[in-house]
């Protein structure tokens, strides 16, 4: 394995190691532990968003809703129905998968802006159901005392450190799964759809079905994140399903880098800390944060990972190209390969229209 030569993997590894070691320094700081753990729950949902948005190129605004379904599934089952956390968690995941799949059936008939707004409507309906269906969800009273995961007498999940590692391990699994998906032909299928549905059709990709799967997968990750969130914070209210959550997730993924493997994690952590950092400005923090968000989107449109990845890619591709040239010795150097990756051909279609 040449994993050590791959700067992307190295970077990812670095982030993971730093996170894994965090409790060593922060174990006594409940606040830091809490922020990071909640941030990781969100990061799981963001990985879900990465599948549908980053890989497949469909902007889904229902992610906050699925996150809410996950949170309320675990919350209600462990309190009102007195299930154990683990059974509630698994049933909830299956439940979100089903809801995601069903929503996908209709949602994927639509495209582009329509898809975005359609999913926004779905997310909002989920929110309304949660905040209005009082007899089941307790509406605005919320769900209190969500159970901790049962440690089977071995691990005590009431300890923030144990909880941290639980979420961390599940997060790692989710990251690995998204990474595996991306590398596999499934991932290539999704990337194909992102580029052009017509082309995908032409090379034999089952566009509708693949989109459907991607949507369901993203819903599942949303549900997992939400379910963990419920047990981490112990009390959940309808705000855990609100559209604001969706936008938060979008911000995370955009700052980290869409379609990248490390982006959602890094983005979630950085934005979460930014938000906490600017807490000191209280009501006026958004006078500063708003422009920062705008600036990030404008100046690092591919996110931090996308930005760093671009550098790495260019370098490694240059090497590979040179190698390919050398072996084939009949090179045709009539164009500038050094520009690879940054400049795309032609005039911008929007400008010329």
């Amino acid at each position: 394995m040449n994993a050590l030569k791959n700067p992307r993997l190295l970077g990812m590894l670095a982030v993971v190691i730093v996170l894994a070691a965090a409790p060593i320094f922060f174990a006594e700081q409940n606040y830091a532990m809490r922020v990071v753990t909640v941030g990781m729950c969100a990061a799981i949902a963001v990985y879900g968003l990465n599948i549908i948005l980053g890989f497949t190129g469909q902007l889904s605004l229902a992610q906050g809703g699925f996150f809410g379904i996950g949170a309320y599934g675990v919350g209600l089952l462990t309190t009102d129905f007195d299930w154990s956390f683990w059974s509630a968690f698994i049933v909830t995941i299956i439940g979100t998968a089903a809801v995601g799949y069903l929503c996908g059936l209709i949602a994927l008939r639509t495209k582009d802006e329509y898809f975005a707004i359609f999913t926004m409507a779905i997310g909002f309906i989920i929110f309304l159901v949660i905040s209005r269906w009082e007899s089941v969800t307790h509406a605005h009273s919320g769900v209190n005392n969500v159970k901790f995961p049962e440690g089977g007498g071995i691990i005590d999940f009431e300890s923030p450190v144990a909880m941290f590692y639980l979420v961390f391990v599940i997060l790692l699994i989710c990251i690995y799964v998204t990474h595996a998906i991306r590398r596999s032909s499934v991932g290539r299928t999704l990337l194909t759809i992102r580029t052009s549905e017509d082309l995908a059709d032409a090379i034999g990709v089952r566009v509708g079905f693949s989109k459907q799967l991607a949507f369901a997968a993203s819903a599942v990750l949303g549900g997992i994140g939400g379910g963990l969130y419920a047990t981490v914070v112990g009390f959940i209210g309808p705000d855990s399903a609100s559209i604001d959550k969706t936008f938060e997730f979008l911000m995370f993924i955009l700052v980290g880098g869409m379609g990248t493997v490390a982006g959602p994690l890094l983005g979630s952590m950085i934005v979460t800390f930014l938000f906490e950092l600017f807490q000191d400005f209280q009501a006026y923090r958004f006078i500063v944060l708003g422009p920062i968000i705008v600036a990030l989107v404008i100046f690092a449109p591919r996110g931090i990972i996308g930005y760093l990845g671009g550098i790495v890619d260019r370098r490694s591709r240059k090497q590979k190209i040179a190698e390919a040239r050398r072996t084939a010795d009949g090179a045709s150097p009539e164009y500038d390969t050094a520009k690879s990756g940054t400049v795309t051909s032609g005039i911008d279609p929007e400008e010329t229209k």
Binding site: G234, G237, I270, L296, A300, R302
Partner: protein, 404 residues
């Protein structure tokens, strides 16, 4: 898809942007302050931006006034002078953010007490305030659920809202009639009120129409919901949410020809409502007593000070006044217990501290006892009836128990 034309300058800018970001995050590590030894941080997490910002600000003003006044008077704990410092964080009304904020205030600022003004947030904070972290919650909500949870470190400030139901019902029926329409807000609290009033009204032999509750914050035009409520030809209407939209609803009802009485939920304050609607449209209503109508020893001075601080256009409300009182009580409890960092001791001393509190801090129905569950009780709770001449008449309230 990705056809962003990038130039060298742009790349530079993005490096700069990312660099700044990394730098700020590195700088974030520090945090924590307040090791001045004799400074005690009073933590506050509330909605300071977003839809609930006005409410959160009102609470904050009360806290600031209390901290300023107490510092001026001088606080002495265990023989040492202590300076109070208020540290406020914004939670945008989100319970989980509120809990994170509270955790931060307790961890980094060593705040022995954290004030929170909404039930959801308080429930979320109760998950963490007694156990690995210890701090007292100064809870500004009239939802008794927060004391029913038997959290040992919660102090509930306002009266239990359920106390109002029977008296409101009686007054509302007397001045209106037997038929009630429900038009409260769709918040957690609004719904609890709706339920409580419905029960009391039925018990008193009245009839209650369908639930027309709407979310006051998201309705663009109240005319529709009001028309619907009036369609049943009610004699009385239950309304309530934030003061200003409540006033608008009442005004709309009057314009559409409603002549019966209003039952106004305690979240809305009649005097504050009068700042956005003509008083004529608000009369014949029963609601909580405006701060200015209280006759506690410190009320007058408090109102003057409030005007200095917030301008005379703003009306002081119980959100401000009760939290002002609350901080004074907690500070006195610190003095009595001789501890600024042991929330259990502070909580235990509240009972003894109550009679010791200086008169100037008694502004809005001062409590004389605290229940075992942590509820401050004011012996003479009063509501008010606003008659057709715009005069307030006090209505005494019997308090109900907090038990479920």
């Amino acid at each position: 898809m990705n056809s962003v034309p990038r130039t060298r300058s742009r790349r530079l800018l993005s490096s700069a942007a990312i660099g700044t970001l990394v730098f700020t995050i590195a700088a974030c590590g520090g945090g924590g302050s307040g090791d001045g030894g004799d400074t005690v941080v009073i933590g506050y997490t509330g909605p300071l931006s977003g839809g609930g910002a006005a409410y959160g600000e009102n609470v904050k003003i009360g806290l600031e006034m209390a901290v300023d006044d107490l510092n001026d008077d001088g606080v002495e704990v265990d023989g040492k002078p202590v300076t109070l410092e208020l540290k406020s964080l914004d939670d945008k009304y989100a319970p989980s953010t509120a809990a994170s904020n509270a955790q931060r205030l307790a961890d980094q600022d060593k705040a022995p007490v954290v004030v929170s003004p909404n039930a959801g947030a308080i429930k979320a904070i109760q998950q963490i305030n007694s156990g690995r972290s210890n701090f007292l919650i100064s809870a500004y909500t009239s939802d008794p659920a927060i004391v029913q949870s038997d959290n040992p470190l919660t102090m509930m400030i306002p009266p239990n809202f359920e106390s109002y139901a029977s008296e409101f019902t009686e007054t509302g029926m007397k001045h209106g009639g037997k038929k009630l329409a429900l038009l409260g807000t769709q918040s957690e609290y609004g719904q609890q009120w709706t339920k409580s009033i419905t029960d009391a009204w039925k018990e008193a032999g009245g009839s209650v129409g369908g639930d027309n509750s709407v979310d006051y914050a998201t309705v663009s035009d109240f005319a529709g919901p009001v028309s619907k409520a009036l369609a049943d030809k009610p004699d009385a209407i239950f309304v309530g949410g934030p003061s200003q939209p409540t006033a608008l609803i009442m005004e709309e009802a009057r314009k559409q020809g409603f002549e019966g009485s209003f039952l106004v939920m305690d979240q809305a304050k009649l005097d504050e409502m009068a700042t956005v609607a003509k008083i004529d449209n608000l009369t014949n209503s029963v609601g909580v007593l405006p701060v200015s109508e209280y006759e506690d020893p410190g009320t007058k001075d408090f109102i003057d000070k409030f005007a200095d601080k917030a301008g005379d256009k703003k009306v002081p409300t119980s959100e401000t006044a009760l939290n002002y009182q609350g901080i004074a009580i907690i500070t006195k409890a610190m003095e009595v217990s001789g501890s600024t960092d042991d929330p259990e001791k502070i909580r235990a001393s509240i009972s003894d501290a109550l009679p010791e509190v200086d008169d100037k801090y008694k502004v809005n129905g001062f409590p004389d006892e605290i229940t075992d569950q942590g509820h401050l009780l004011n012996p003479n709770l009063e509501a008010t009836y606003l008659d057709d001449d715009g005069e307030y008449t006090k209505v005494p309230i019997d308090q109900v128990s907090d038990a479920k």
